[in-house]
């Protein structure tokens, strides 16, 4: 795995799509090191010391600039609002790519990718890599409503079958991931499930995968202070391969971890990811 970089990026474009602000950021070296499931830690305005984590949604070649990062920001608090307001040309201090990426299957198996809200972002580049390896890609996209549904059009291009659920029924089926995931998984006959979204969603997916005898890889969001493994502010309770309960750093030993290794019940008390249904 290549080491991450700390660098100053530049906003090349910023556009609103539904509830999200899509940023394209040149950050020399970071894009080259990207693997799906990794994130960047971004600095926001002067008084705020904690960094803001953003999934890397993709890498796009931009004329004259080399590969640039695509980021999706849901403005929910002071930091994400600040990011969503950055004008073109603004500079961004960032570190990345950080964290463990999704592990890819060695064989060309059928896969199911489950994403909710902005957290679906890393699944699109993952779908691409999986198809390159001959894996069948099925996509389950969820959101509270249409505005929070990430790139549903693009989804049709990257997957064999796409299922959409929204809490208010504004697109796709009305309901939640927990309601439909077992059926979708069975239909896709998926052997590996990848999921990204709020903790309760990940928990539901991991449980269903385990019942179905599928592997699951979950991208867990915990409040991160540094994102770089230094502060231990992001405890993630897991069970190690040796069967021993441990607390690891969500930013460094995660964010992607095997769904059957997370002690989900102990995460319940922590703050759920933004973007999920309230």
């Amino acid at each position: 795995m290549k080491a991450p970089l700390h660098t100053t990026g530049e906003v090349l474009s910023s556009k609103r799509v539904g509830a999200y602000q899509h940023l394209t950021v040149v950050a020399p070296g970071v894009a080259e090191r990207f693997r799906p499931g990794t994130f960047v830690a971004v600095s926001v305005d002067g008084t705020r010391l904690a960094r803001r984590a953003l999934w890397i949604h993709g890498v796009r070649a931009v004329g004259g600039h080399g590969p640039a990062l695509q980021l999706v920001v849901e403005p929910v608090g002071p930091g994400t609002r600040w990011l969503a307001e950055r004008p073109v040309g603004a500079r961004l201090e960032l570190t990345g790519p950080l964290g463990r990426a999704f592990a890819l299957p060695k064989e060309p198996v059928a896969t199911l990718l489950v994403g909710e809200g902005y957290a679906a972002a890393p699944l699109f580049p993952l779908a691409e890599r999986l198809r390159e390896r001959g894996c069948q890609v099925n996509l389950l996209l969820a959101a509270p409503d249409e505005r929070h549904l990430l790139s549903a059009l693009e989804a049709r291009r990257s997957a064999r079958a796409v299922t959409v659920v929204t809490a208010d029924g504004s697109v796709g089926r009305r309901g939640s991931v927990a309601d439909v995931v077992a059926g979708v998984l069975a239909q896709a006959a998926a052997e590996v499930v990848y999921a990204a979204g709020p903790v309760p969603t990940l928990h539901a997916v991991a449980a269903v995968a385990e019942q179905a005898g599928a592997w699951s890889q979950t991208a867990v969001e915990q409040p991160l202070t540094c994102g770089t493994g230094l502060c231990h502010g992001c405890p993630l309770p897991v069970v190690g391969e040796d069967g021993v309960a441990r607390v690891v750093r969500a930013c460094t030993e995660g964010p992607v971890v095997r769904g059957d290794r997370v002690r989900w019940a102990e995460l319940a008390g922590t703050r759920p990811g933004a973007g999920g249904p309230a």
Partner: protein, 271 residues
């Protein structure tokens, strides 16, 4: 005290295992690396949320998560030493005996340049650690560590409230500490009221005042200053106040390259 090629040191608990910073090239040129505070046995750390953001500061109560001495000696220390880093091992514990035992075993491990005793934990009791902030207890622990440390210099990281800092520094040096670290976390609270420490640029003026108090009261004692340092100018303010070295903590969480950058600036970069 230890001999530092550069006065900029990574503060305890803010540099991970060292590998994370090394991957970013962010240990280059630094004077020394301080480990998180180690205990005899592994510790999972406290409940979430552990850290909250405040204006120009972080309030933290991590509960000293760590691998325990055994695993540290087997997997973390050799790597740090191999990198050619000057390693300062910070230690903490639930009793005077635990401090002593950790010191004894560290004194036998090769490659360590100094021990640092963490006497400033503002949330010690909440995490089952010995509260050694009172000068009397601090001196006791330092004496026990010094006894076991053999030839290793012992740095005492004292509580940094203006009221007691000079007294604390005096008793721990009487107890055998080679130098004091001044400017650790200020006693504060997490938003839910749990005791915690406040660090970061917000506390710099308080830390600088504490360094001044110690220098005035104990001109012969080497002081390592810390608290809110994030630029070379900040570091110089502490050195000008009489500190022999500085530690950089919170700033690394915001920008992991801070210590390396300050070290380079002080070593002759633009002033």
């Amino acid at each position: 005290m230890i001999d530092l090629p550069n006065p900029v040191v990574v503060a305890a608990g803010c540099g991970g295992t060292g590998r994370e910073l090394a991957a970013l090239g962010a240990l280059e040129g630094i004077g020394a690396f301080t480990t998180r505070s180690l205990t005899l046995n592994p510790r999972a750390g406290g409940p979430a949320p552990r850290i909250a953001e405040t204006p120009s500061g972080l309030v933290h109560s991590t509960g000293l998560p760590g691998p325990g001495l055994e695993i540290f000696l087997a997997t973390e220390l050799p790597w740090l030493v191999q990198q050619g880093l000057r390693v300062v091992v910070s230690l903490s514990g639930a009793s005077v005996a635990e401090h002593a035992e950790v010191a004894r075993r560290l004194a036998q491990a090769p490659g360590i340049r100094a021990l640092e005793v963490d006497l400033a934990v503002p949330d010690a009791r909440a995490h089952g650690l010995l509260d050694v902030r009172e000068p009397f207890h601090a001196a006791n622990v330092v004496a026990a560590v010094v006894r076991e440390a053999q030839d290793l210099p012992v740095l005492a990281k004292v509580r940094s409230d203006v009221l007691r800092v000079a007294e604390s520094a005096r008793v721990v040096t009487d107890a055998g500490a080679s130098a004091v670290v001044v400017g650790g976390p200020q006693a504060a609270a997490l938003p839910d009221g749990r005791p915690a420490g406040l660090s970061g640029p917000a506390v710099l003026p308080l830390a600088l005042r504490c360094v001044g108090e110690v220098r005035a009261a104990l001109p012969g004692v080497p002081v390592i200053g810390c608290g809110g340092i994030s630029t070379a100018a900040d570091a110089r303010a502490f050195l000008d106040a009489g500190a022999v070295a500085v530690q950089v903590g919170t700033a690394l969480l915001h920008d992991p390259t801070t210590a390396a950058r300050i070290a380079a600036d002080l070593a002759g970069g633009p002033s």
